[in-house]
Symmetry: C2
């Protein structure tokens, strides 16, 4: 590979992501393409993309483009990966993108067995308010429910004709009917803003969402007469599990923090997290922390410290051994308490105004 | 098998149908269950069903039930199988059934690549008028387009969750995404009249449509909480190919008559059809016709002669050798000309009133 992912503050996990870039045929994310990159773009957390130049040009030349993402309302929690998606949506929204947020209620029904009513309730009570709490500008966002968007459904059926089951299996690994219907509907969602007027669009995703992007790009190539732009995409790394694994997962609740989560529980988990501190204080002062191994520093870098100078200061102190692992964890706990408090308050606040949001009107 | 299909005027093809009944687990159709059975019911052309007793009871006790069928608008022709479907719909409509005719535009898109606009045009220009021309009472029929029926689509996604790809393959032989989406949508169509109020329903089908019935019955059993009645179904035989094969098929145009078809072409095909007449007139007069082999007599029995006494007269004359094959064919040509003329006129007439039909109103 010619280029390398730039992570100015180190991470043990870089190699996994370079493999992903190669396997998926992605381009390495270059923060210089984008004016005033956000925290996760600057810090190598956003690490890859597809067709980013066209989005960069749209921003530079103030051309029309869109950013789109879906809410999967399976329960009333989100994880740090969703937070990063919202931060990237906000970035493009702030830089001129038409913004679409859809509630994937049909996909929740066909893949998780969540009823449409339950999905609607969760989206209105929690997910949409959470997106607003995390920075989305509700006045500039078009929301819709898949189940109300006949254009999306109708196009999904047309797209289905040119997808084979083997192709589906190659992309998704399996081909259950519910999964097929959900995925093809998501393809139609991704292209929906182009139905009336073709324009570039960017989809911020975690790595595990790439199959949807690949399927959509295949469909675009097969329906040439529709003249869709291939959707661009941008990828962030997983927030690693507090025990050092690649990805936080609910299957290991002690290493996973959800949004929202009770602060006492969060503090306990942070205190027990895999640390880069040395075994004895003497050793730590002498050798300094092994930052690449420290999951709490990674959490601060990805989520808790906005200011680069502040992060750099912490980095130097911790790496040199001036700051102990206990001190670092205390800073993280304090910042997490503040963040979680603001998040919960923000969700409550946004929930009150839910009826004033721009829900797309359908005939 | 305990019972046998009753075909009072003989047919070489009975054995194939008895195998189908056994393989599919159908019940043999008993015309005594139904008051004033129609022509194809009386003559063993309707040969099987599922759960027919519940429909018979609904008719007898004037309880609510429904009959439903779908139009697949792939081109502007139908075949004799469709004519029989319409005749059975009409039978149940005349005996008190709520009637639903849907245009399977989504299925046409996902399985045949027909655009929704093209499907709509064909349905309004030809298929719906053809159904009316064949006897459907438009004032008592609820029409809808799948693509406008969000309830159907939304339910299709919920149903998809509990269908596995292996089950789908076992029923349909293959599992292409477009086929899956089309079939599951058809399941939702079949149950649609029960969404607001559960009631028995009957679906008249050709044998090749049985997979949809089986899949729907599986879905009903899996969604017990919805308390759907299992759909009943009723099966008619194929109209045999004029060369004696089981089924008319467009792949052999010289043995297949479509609706509408130019009368000169129809006459030519009938004249060349496989006959039960003997090689010489002398032999024919002596031995009589082999009716079981005669495709023109089969056509008259299934479609062209309404009155049983008239058919019986022809049967006796032909079987005894008094009527020649040429004479039989001439009668068939005359009757076909009259039928085709009425059909074309009926379609034109119904097309004029297309806007006055009861299209289901959706929010």
């Amino acid at each position: 590979m010619k280029h390398k992912i730039i992570d100015p503050w180190g991470s043990e996990l870089l190699e996994s992501y370079e493999k992903i870039i190669k396997d998926f045929g992605l381009e390495i994310f270059n923060p210089k393409l984008f004016p005033k990159p956000n925290r996760i773009m600057r810090r190598g957390v956003v690490f890859a993309g597809r067709d980013l130049k066209i989005i960069s040009d749209a921003i530079k030349h103030k051309k029309k483009f869109y950013v789109l993402s879906g809410i999967m309302p399976t329960n009333e929690k989100i994880h740090f990966g969703t937070k990063m998606v919202v931060e990237n949506i906000k970035y493009f929204q702030d830089h001129g993108a038409e913004t679409y947020i859809l509630v994937a209620d049909l996909e929740a029904a066909s893949t998780r067995g969540v009823t449409l009513n339950e999905a609607r309730k969760r989206a209105l009570d929690f997910h949409i308010p959470a997106y607003v709490a995390l920075g989305l500008n509700p006045k500039k966002t078009n929301f819709y429910f898949q189940s109300e968007n006949r254009d999306v459904m109708n196009n999904a059926y047309e797209f289905a004709k040119k997808i084979t089951v083997n192709e589906f299996k190659a992309i998704y690994g399996s081909a259950d009917p519910g999964k097929i219907m959900g995925a093809i509907t998501q393809v139609a969602d991704i292209l929906y803003p182009q139905f009336k007027e073709r324009k570039p669009g960017i989809i911020p995703v975690g790595v595990d969402q790439d199959p949807h992007i690949r399927l959509t790009r295949d469909v675009v190539k097969r329906f040439k007469e529709r003249r869709f732009f291939l959707p661009s995409s941008i990828y962030h790394k997983y927030t690693p599990s507090l025990d050092g694994d690649l990805k936080m997962s609910k299957s290991k609740p002690e290493s996973c923090i959800e949004l929202p989560e009770d602060i006492a529980s969060v503090n306990r988990k942070i205190k027990r997290a895999l640390s880069g501190g040395r075994d004895t204080l003497e050793e730590h002062r002498k050798l300094g922390a092994i930052i690449e191994k420290d999951m709490v520093f990674e959490l601060m870098k990805q989520h808790l410290v906005e200011d680069d100078k502040e992060l750099n200061k912490i980095y130097k102190k911790y790496k040199s051994g001036k700051m102990t692992s206990g001190e670092l964890k205390q800073i993280a706990c304090d910042k997490m308490e503040k963040f979680m408090g603001n998040f919960v308050k923000g969700v409550e606040q946004a929930r009150k105004h839910i009826n004033r949001l721009n829900f797309v009107k359908f005939k």
